[in-house]
């Protein structure tokens, strides 16, 4: 929209930090801001995702309704063919859209690009699980209009989304409320992280007055969409790709619109109708109450309280809310990198899920972590086939996928980034240790750990001295590729191999060291490479420089060795961590949103407490206040989880290596209090940290953990409080791209 059409003060901005709601004041200006806002205000329940598109036609947005694992296939093409290059990929498609409601005020369409917008406010309520929109607008002919919509995607009813719509104006009012399929979408951007848009992905199967049935053309997935409107009389007009419900009234009009979807079901149409009817019978108020109840339960352990930084407090809750929206599960399904908030990365699941999202869900909502890992297990045959194609034993999980097959084109980063297999095994082991879910381990987890270990076993080789190595892989840092002995990869592989215990002797993989610099090498030879020249640099570097040039330099896209020090901290002394952290800090540009949370954790561990706060804030505010341009394609779900990681593993000092909990909490003096919970087996551990002490409280069975290396067992009846040795806040080491300093006393 043109900025001239809306008073400047009404350009959309996220309002001041409120503890439990995210409020947007005004309407975003232009396509970039509109799409980011749509991602921020997306509602999802792990199964259905609705981007925060406004109801009425609005050209700058990116319509998005996503059904988990509903995808279309498309061909991958290469300049030169090669053995085992993936030939097809899966792409999330825009599902039948039940959001649109066109409003006519007299003869005038409700169109915020015209008339005068007096108030526009959207509120995402993190406890109610609703998105409320309120608009006050004067039409070009001078009619004052008040509009309110409330949306909800039900956590308790995975097939159902509902909207309450209310409008008032001194005029004849008419609405056209659509369920629409194959709507036209804007084209894709020229950015490797963006998605392909498949035009008109659905073929009509059948339609009647309240159900549309469609099927994707190539992947052949059937979707039934059942709609019902309640609260006003309307008439229905139906075609193969659209159900339009129209109603009219004078002065006031209100109705509830409910949509139920069924896909990947035996009889989609009957299922969708059944779920819709049950939800409609319950009605909006019951659905809202159920939603509140679900979220109350979630927040009772998932909430993280941070006193002293309201923006970060809000950001962490916003992040956890979106982690839940992405990860809530009624049955095993993938958790995509963008959740269900956008079509970025084609809707694919990457290593982000196991390495960043599942650690958080494991301790906050373990049932969802278990189901997500059961989904991974359901793809094991595809991973075995992929390992075979790659010339490897066992199983090799894909770099990107929706239902299991490798969907990443051949690529030095993705195809060689075998660490995803170790990330999955680590997530299995962590979930099993924390939940005690032996049934999962017996029926799914053990097989995944064994099969990935067989892949590593095939890859590992010994040099003349008997030292074990892994050659030709790409670690988390995608500005290096095809390296030998990437330390992170070696450590995930080593954990994976030891857990599977395929060999008699536990394998010990090389961790290359640069003795003259006194630091570990991210991978063999890394510290010998020339340095990058950061003078006048633009980020992300990959949009301004060829990969091969980045590969040849000591420039790090995202935490790699630093991630290794977070997850496998016992392989490093504190002194090594300090030197390594400073060394890699000077070479890390954070061109991935996965980096800041990890840097926050190691900054805290190595005593750079203000820096840890800065990185925490970067992670927590990335999608909400960060202005990152890629958020329009969907939120960074791993970064959402990353703010929990930054707080709980950073200031909270949580570690869980070898399935043993440990804490080394340390909070800077300017943050008075941090409080978080962990679920551990049937118990809940509550940890309250202040700059001078920490209190551990347990609900349920006693929990044993280490506090600053000392083993402690805390039972339900005895809180354990202990002082923390205050530490000097060490200044941040040099960085080519320091995070924004967090204002604090």
């Amino acid at each position: 929209m043109g900025s001239q059409a809306v008073p400047e003060q009404l350009s959309g901005v996220i309002g001041s930090a409120e503890p439990w709601v995210v409020r947007e004041i005004g309407l975003p200006d232009g396509a970039t801001a509109t799409r980011q806002s749509e991602s921020v205000f997306a509602l999802a329940n792990g199964h259905i995702g609705l981007r925060g598109n406004v109801e009425e036609p609005y050209p700058d947005g990116m319509p998005g309704t996503y059904l988990n694992s509903l995808f279309e296939e498309r061909d991958l093409t290469y300049p030169e063919a090669g053995y085992a290059f993936p030939q097809r990929t899966q792409t999330v498609v825009n599902a039948p859209n039940g959001k649109p409601v066109a409003l006519f005020v007299g003869a005038e369409p409700f169109d915020l690009r015209t008339g005068t917008l007096r108030r526009h406010e959207r509120v995402l309520d993190l406890r109610a699980g609703t998105l409320t929109r309120e608009v006050e607008w004067t039409s070009p002919s001078g009619v004052d209009v008040w509009l309110r919509t409330v949306r909800l995607v039900s956590f308790q009813r995975p097939s159902v989304a509902v909207m309450r719509y209310s409008v008032r104006a001194d005029a004849e009012l008419r609405v056209e409320s659509d369920l629409v399929v194959n709507e036209e979408l804007p084209g894709a951007r020229d950015d490797p992280r963006a998605s392909a848009v498949i035009p008109r992905p659905f073929r009509a199967v059948s339609h009647n007055r309240d159900v549309l049935v469609h099927r994707t053309g190539r992947s052949g997935i059937e979707v039934a969409s059942a709609v019902v409107h309640a609260g006003a009389d309307g008439k229905v007009d139906v075609g193969p790709d659209r159900i339009r419900w129209s109603a009219a009234g004078r002065g006031e009009l209100g109705f509830d619109k409910l949509v139920a979807y069924a896909w990947n079901a035996v009889d989609c149409e009957a299922t969708a109708v059944r779920e819709r009817d049950a939800a409609a019978t319950a009605g909006f108020d019951v659905l809202a109450a159920e939603q509140r109840e679900y979220l109350d339960d979630f927040w009772s352990t998932a909430d993280v309280e941070l006193d002293g930084d309201p923006e970060v407090q809000q950001g962490v809750r916003f992040g956890m809310f979106h982690v839940l929206q992405a990860g809530a599960q009624a049955g095993p399904h993938p958790i995509a990198a963008k959740g269900l908030t956008g079509n970025g990365y084609d809707g694919h699941t990457l290593w982000d899920t196991e390495a960043f999202v599942l650690p958080v869900l494991t301790y906050t909502h373990p049932a969802c972590a278990g189901l997500a890992l059961r989904w991974r297990h359901s793809t094991l045959d595809a991973a075995r086939e992929r390992a075979r194609e790659l010339g490897l034993a066992g199983a090799s999980f894909p770099w990107r996928t929706i239902t299991g097959p490798e969907c990443s084109g051949y690529w030095p980063a993705g195809t060689a980034a075998l660490h995803v297999n170790g990330d999955i095994a680590a997530a299995v082991l962590r979930y099993h240790a924390a939940s005690g879910d032996d049934d999962f381990m017996r029926t799914a987890g053990r097989e995944m750990v064994t099969e990935t270990a067989r892949m590593w076993q095939d890859l590992v080789f010994a040099d003349d001295s008997g030292t074990a190595h892994i050659a030709g892989v790409t670690g988390p840092d995608e500005y290096s590729a095809l390296m030998d002995d990437n330390i992170y990869t070696n450590l995930v592989a080593q954990q994976n191999l030891r857990a599977a215990a395929l060999d008699d002797e536990p394998v010990e993989l090389a961790l290359p060291v640069d003795r003259s610099r006194g630091v570990h090498q991210q991978a063999e030879g890394f510290t010998r490479l020339p340095e990058w020249d950061y003078e006048g640099e633009q980020y992300p570097l990959m949009l301004h420089h060829p990969y091969l040039n980045l590969y040849r330099k000591q420039v790090v896209k995202q935490a790699d060795l630093v991630l290794a020090m977070m997850v496998y901290g016992e392989s490093f002394t504190l002194d090594e961590k300090r030197r390594n952290f400073a060394y890699y800090e000077a070479r890390t540009v954070r061109d991935s949103s996965l980096s800041a949370p990890v840097q926050a954790v190691l900054a805290a561990e190595t005593g750079h407490l203000s820096l840890a706060h800065d990185y925490l804030a970067e992670a927590a505010l990335l999608d909400l206040r960060g202005g990152g341009e890629s958020g329009g394609d969907g939120l960074h779900i791993a970064a959402c989880a990353g703010s929990w990681i930054a707080l709980v593993m950073g200031f909270g000092g949580l570690r869980d290596e070898g399935g043993r909990l440990s804490f080394t909490p340390r909070l800077p003096a300017h943050l008075p209090r941090l409080c978080f919970h962990l679920r551990w087996r049937e118990s809940v551990l509550r940890v309250t940290v202040t700059p001078v002490d920490v209190t551990y409280e347990v609900t349920g069975d006693p929990i044993t953990f280490r506090h600053y290396g000392k083993e402690v067992t805390v039972a339900a009846d005895q809180a354990f409080s202990v002082g923390i040795e205050p530490e000097q806040d060490r200044p941040a080491p040099p960085s080519p791209r320091p995070p924004k300093r967090r204002a604090h006393s």
Copy 2:
């Protein structure tokens, strides 16, 4: 064609080795054999190339008429976009085709799939520069037909091709002789080395009764094709894409068909007509005499005589003939990897030209080497632009191109194979040293050497100890990628840098050594990698295994360190060469045709004389008797040059490091005599080697060279004969894929 239609004894085979002709007896059976045969019998003059398609319609073939640098553009697409990924490529197109002549015998078409084929013989005459075809065939109704065609693509008239057509039969004879544009072609194969086929690449510009003018759709290149028939009366039928000349007679019919092309000319139509008319006025017999004269001159120094192996003798001459056909130049233009014999590699020029073809032309037909390098120089601006895209200083020449821009998709092999720049610089320095062409050096060569050196200078870095390195490049062996300190690359870069003398101090790049194995490492870390398991292996490996798996193993596609030892032999002691050769021999699978010639040279140098003979034979017979399946897309021109290299640098022991000629000839006892010539400045050196001695003779000014390390100057009036210390033939070291043993006493 079905084998049932043709008597088995008439399936096409190359006849027994004749010194100066290549004879095919019978007609090839099936598409693969047909296309290989078409490549073998291709005629070209560096500008125009005609595949050896038969004149009449024949479904198994791949019609091919190529005009050097006539190409169409097409888009390159990638699964994921990336900075500086080439977006367009150039693809050779099938030019207007003047070969087709359909023959009708009475009411029956002359179609070898019907009737009885009694004789089918094609003869490529390497001294006459003609292809003669003779057919005796009985039609289904019993009419005996005798057909003879003689083709010639004129070296002396770069625009002109001519055919003499004669047919006899006791019947009414009718011919339809076409010049046809946009003919339909079979599709591309699924092999990375194959080419894309662009359907209907030309748009008609104008046509009249004897000239067609067309333009390619996207690259916008105009082509005029002028045709004339002489020797019989006919009538002409013309359309935008076809000129058809028809003639008829009883019992006997004969005519000459002459086509002249003009493209990349100011007035193509006028040029084509002028060239056609001049050639037609001269007539077939004059053109044939001119052709003979040109070839006599060529062979007077390009011929290599080898007594004792008639097949290899024929193969070497066949190879040199095709090197000339690919490289003959009336003005600067590229020499493609397949010459003008097929559309493989999309008609692109690769490093093959400078590293394999130009060394041969430099010493046998130096004017062509100079013009080919002038063509490279004409692409220097594109190379500067490419260096800028790659983040490098100076110029970086493309991995694949037709007119200069990088046409290789982003790819760890091609994009990182920067050695092509050093190969070009080495070719410049070699040509300058051998020819003394200072004008070339001043106006073109020096600038290329300087600009490529600036690229290397930007890439080279020093480690803490001051040792210089190059990181993240791919050497000749494409089964390794993104390696550090690839020895071949370091040596070409070092030569390039020293020749440009940008720095005061001559750079000394690291040559990694594995001390425990006592060998050089092809690249840093290579000898530490696991070994490949060759059990039951199928070749080429790249069609059966993923690149990433090949990258992780000690498996070598093609001579890499061994090539370094050939070109930069002074960097290695003889003892190192012996140990390195044996070590890499055990790990080299020769999945590239560039490998065998180099292995032949080092086998000879390290005293494995029978093995050198085996590799020589593999190179010399590859396209003629090798049965290689990729020859159907065009001949392996570098391997054609490779048989000269194998003989002259292998048994002849020629080296030219630093612009100084040297020889260490050694011939196995079963090969009585080798004789070759080198052009050096204005002189010619003739070298005659026997197992026991060598004779050097000079025409022109005296030549100074080293014989077994001892400097010798030979003048025109004094042949220099010297005995060779006989050497034990060392047995071949183990190889996973030993060459076929050459039968000898």
